[in-house]
Amino acid sequence: MRGSEAGYRLVAVPSSEPATHTQPAARAGRSASPVSYVGATKRYGPGPPAVDHLDLEVPAGEICVLVGPSGCGKTTAMRMVNRTVELSEGDVLIGDESVRERDPARLRREIGYVIQQVGLFPHRTVAQNIAAVPELLGWEKDRIRARTAELLELIGLDPELGSRYPAQLSGGQQQRVGVARALAADPLVMLMDEPFGAIDPINRERLQNEFLRLQSELRKTVLFVTHDIDEAIKMGDRIAVMREGGRLEQYATPAELLMAPATPFVEDFVGADRALKRLALMRVADVDLWQPATARAGEACAEVRARLAMPDVDVPFPLLLDAAGRPLGWLSERDLAAATVPEQPDSPLGPLLETDDVLRDALADMLQAGAQYAAVADPQGRLAGVLSFEVISDFLGSARAHAPLPRPAEAAPAAPAPPRGGRP
């Protein structure tokens, strides 16, 4: 039983099970299906169509965000997949099967469906809500119970809440249950219509991150509708920008979209701050960090000065490391005037970044601290390099975010400063 259930197990269950059953590949359950729009069109009466000859390929296991202003047909396009909107023309394929040939109710039971207002059944408990589709599919009671418990755990909800009614949950908890309900029968495709639109900003971000974490395990094919370009950039493996009249303006990865908007409409829609938005897509590890001169306690200062004078050193102050290579602080002129490097640096370290930090957050930390440089540590805490405003602006100016950054021609700034350091 354990073995046959493994296909539906999404979460690691602490048990004596062989490790392979709890690895992501085994937990991913059924495979996801690609979704293809082929000239998909929806007309409501005369006038311009709501969706106009849409061609779109969503690879299996990816999140495709449909984004655009209201009235651009993004929700209509999404609803074509489960036939809650009927196609006027063209086709939508799940795998290689046309949705037009499927019985709508049966088709929908294979597709997860999450909407902004959640739409939980107020008269059924949380557990009964999650069990809705398995019940429709006629699963046995034991299997439904096991699956419900598993999903409550997956979305991080106290199992006790399973017997509550939706009205007894917070908005964020309700939306988690909505996601669990959509995942219950291990669907091939998930449709999510502004799922986090009605949630306050703090909880929205939390839910977004939780969903991305889930998705990294489950690898569903997701069609995600939003009007919020920032959410699109955050959630999407690919983004389809649509405009009024149901026309597809651009279909690209978030980075491509920000770097090379295909039309003036897309450029306008992604916003004048698209350079900044690109920072949200990159991590500190993605840019070429500067390598500072380093020093350890007890070393001769003359040696350190010699390192500082090397041509490829861009930071005018040496960084003091401990024995394990972890940065401790910046050495000042006064420190270097002594014979040997002191144990305590004159200037504190200031913000310490990690290679995993999102570049936008790293920049925010530096601005917050008033620092021009910030040391970056690798996951073990050892120095990985130094991030500076120059590194960031060079990155933003570069044609491709991934391209190696040219070293600045100009010298390092005249007044560098780890912050509040009482630098002489």
Binding site: N82, T84, A105, R106, L107, R108, R109, Y113, I115, Q116, Q117, V118, G119, L120, F121, P122, H123, R124, A132, V133, L136, R164, Y165, A167, Q168, L169, S170, G178, R181, A182, L191
Partner: protein, 247 residues
């Protein structure tokens, strides 16, 4: 119109309540200031049992029949939206016909007896049950229905597993109002010879002897309260989610 009424009254008289009561009032005539004659009440309380049971049967049968018809009409109107206003108007017109007139109107068709009473009483419940069922179904959140359809509920499943359970409080509220008004209205059934507690109220036409009227009225009120409470209790048991709120 007058002829059937006379027949009806005669029917009631023939059943003997008038005669019996007038003889029994003698006991109270010694003290004419007494509004309620306890001595008579003690000796004659058993004569209310049969009319009470008749009354209850009549109420239950009428509300049940009214519910079946009104519920079916409401489901029909729910499916075909254009039917909603005409059906509301039709049940509304029925409701505005004076009740006595309706009883007598039906006499030529269904004759004296229970059938006529039940048909008339049921007709008066249609409006409230129909309207409340429609309102209950209309109040089901659109998002809940959208989610249900999007998950693969068929239209029938949406109706029976989502819409009707959620409309239950309004439907039962309609039943409660219908039941209470039917309990009161059923006292008129005596005029078509259908018995019930009306026999103890209008049967003698002797309003100088109010003891019997008062007892019958008390039973009518009690029956209304008990039936309403029973329905309320049933509704609470059937809709536990209504009392579940964030703790």
């Amino acid at each position: 119109m007058i002829a059937p009424a006379a027949i009806a009254l005669a029917g009631a008289v023939d059943e003997g309540f008038f005669r019996d009561r007038s003889s029994d009032t003698l006991a109270c005539e010694a003290r004419p200031d007494e509004v309620f004659c306890f001595g008579w009440a003690r000796e004659n309380i058993d004569r209310f049992l049969t009319p009470t049971l008749e009354h209850l049967e009549m109420v239950v049968a009428s509300v049940a029949a009214g519910f079946v018809v009104a519920f079916a009409l409401a489901l029909l109107a729910h499916r075909r939206g254009w039917l909603r206003p005409p059906l509301l108007a039709a049940t509304g017109v029925l409701y505005t016909i004076p009740s006595l007139a309706l009883f007598f109107l039906l006499l030529p068709l269904t004759g004296l007896g229970r059938t006529t009473a039940i048909v008339v009483l049921a007709a008066y419940t249609l409006q409230i049950i129909y309207r409340n069922t429609i309102i209950g179904l209309a109040n089901v959140p659109a998002a809940t229905k959208d989610a249900a359809r999007g998950m693969g509920y068929t239209e029938r499943q949406v109706l029976w597993r989502v819409e009707l359970p959620l409309a239950l409080p309004e439907i039962v509220a309609g039943l409660r109002v219908a039941t209470v008004s039917t309990v009161a209205l059923a006292t008129l059934a005596v005029f078509v010879g259908a018995g019930g507690l009306g026999t103890q109220i209008y049967g003698g036409g002797n309003l100088t002897f109010p003891t019997s009227v008062l007892i019958a009225a008390a039973i009518v009120i009690l029956m209304a309260l008990v039936l309403e409470a029973a329905l309320l209790l049933a509704q609470r048991r059937l809709t536990p989610w209504r009392r579940a709120r964030a703790s």
